[in-house]
């Protein structure tokens, strides 16, 4: 009887965890989607240079700002800071997932009409996308439980995989464009 109670409690805990986590990331996803709206008409300079992306990551996921607040702020501000950073980190993760999904979607559409598909490159792109999704999920759970501080390395790795997938997609596309020109 006790075993059944324990199993039921464990199942309930897992379910509760999943529900709360899904709810937290759902909010972040909706906010990330809202933030991404209207970016299609944006120019290219705001995304110029991946150093901006790295610097933003450094800010959101580093410990430096928290160390500063430890000597400067009251408990309410520290709590507010941790909540804000967690929100920012979850939104960044959701945004990366959305952007990666968009890269894959446009690639799939282009691949349907392509005549010179390279199975090895398609597989590499698919694996990178899968790896990015897994890393983003792991990162989101960790951020949700413990906050983004000291997770800078993992976030940077996810960012590198995303940029790698983007570069691979561009290389595949430009090779496809070149072969289409040759065929003409």
């Amino acid at each position: 009887m006790t075993e059944y109670a324990l199993i039921a409690a464990a199942t309930m805990s897992v379910l509760l965890f999943v529900v709360l986590f899904r709810r937290a990331t759902q909010d972040a996803r909706e906010e990330a989607q809202a933030g991404c709206r209207g970016l299609n008409d944006a120019g290219d300079w705001w995304e110029h240079g991946s150093y901006v992306s790295r610097a933003v990551l450094q800010q959101i996921f580093s410990q430096d700002d928290e160390n500063f607040l430890n000597g400067e702020a009251d408990p309410g501000t520290k709590f507010f800071f941790r909540r804000e950073r967690k929100k920012l980190a979850l939104r960044w993760i959701e945004r990366r997932k959305l952007e990666a999904a968009a890269v894959m979607r446009t690639h799939r559409q282009a691949a349907r009409g392509a005549e010179d598909l390279q199975p090895s490159e398609e597989m590499r792109l698919l694996l990178r996308h899968a790896k990015l999704k897994i890393m983003c999920e792991a990162l989101a759970v960790t951020v949700w439980l413990a906050g983004p501080q000291s997770l800078h390395g993992l976030a940077q790795r996810a960012d590198e995989i995303f940029h790698g997938a983007q570069r691979l997609r561009q290389a595949v596309r430009s090779r496809g464009d070149a072969s289409a020109q040759q065929a003409q």
Partner: protein
């Protein structure tokens, strides 16, 4: 960003305006936050178009608007990526240069959130969110510092300001 990269993102005439604006106007404004507020103030709230009579008169309205938009993006990025320590100091300097009572300044900035108008129209949403979040935290730190100071007697306070004042240079 170096000149070669800039030439790719800005047309040559806008690049000349940007260079002139950076060396003759922005260089005279001491803090990054003041530079940001100044450039944002050249943008029309209704159309989002940047207007600067002096630059438009010398270089043309379109080139001036493009250069100001780029300068806005660049300064905004620099301010958003400041550490919380640096941003708090920048905000403190800005508060002092406004010559308003610190409490009145903090109340206005925390309630009205005027810093939101300093966000460029075309910007990475993560940077914009980071900027808003960091300003809110820096304001909370300044308020905490303010409340930690011993109370001043009412008679020692300077008279209230008769009109809004700005430390920023005349835009013309």
């Amino acid at each position: 960003m170096n000149g070669a990269t800039l030439n790719r993102v800005l047309p040559a005439d806008a690049w000349r305006v940007y260079d002139d604006f950076r060396t003759r106007t922005l260089a005279r404004i001491p803090s990054a936050l003041e530079r940001l507020i100044y450039i944002a103030s050249t943008r029309d709230y209704n159309s989002g178009v940047y207007q600067h009579e002096g630059l438009a008169g010398r270089f043309g309205g379109d080139a001036a608007a493009q250069a100001l938009e780029y300068a806005h993006w660049e300064v905004f990025q620099a301010v958003s990526l400041l550490s919380l320590r640096r941003l708090t100091e920048e905000l403190h300097k800005y508060m002092q240069s406004s010559r308003e009572q610190p409490i009145a300044f903090l109340n206005a900035w925390q309630k009205l959130e005027p810093y939101r108008v300093a966000i460029p129209l075309r910007v990475d949403p993560t940077i914009a969110e980071l900027f808003i979040s960091n300003i809110k935290i820096a304001l909370a730190v300044l308020r905490h510092r303010q409340s930690a100071k011993p109370d001043r007697p009412q008679g020692a306070l300077p008279p209230p300001s008769p009109a809004p004042r700005s430390p920023l240079p005349y835009r013309g």
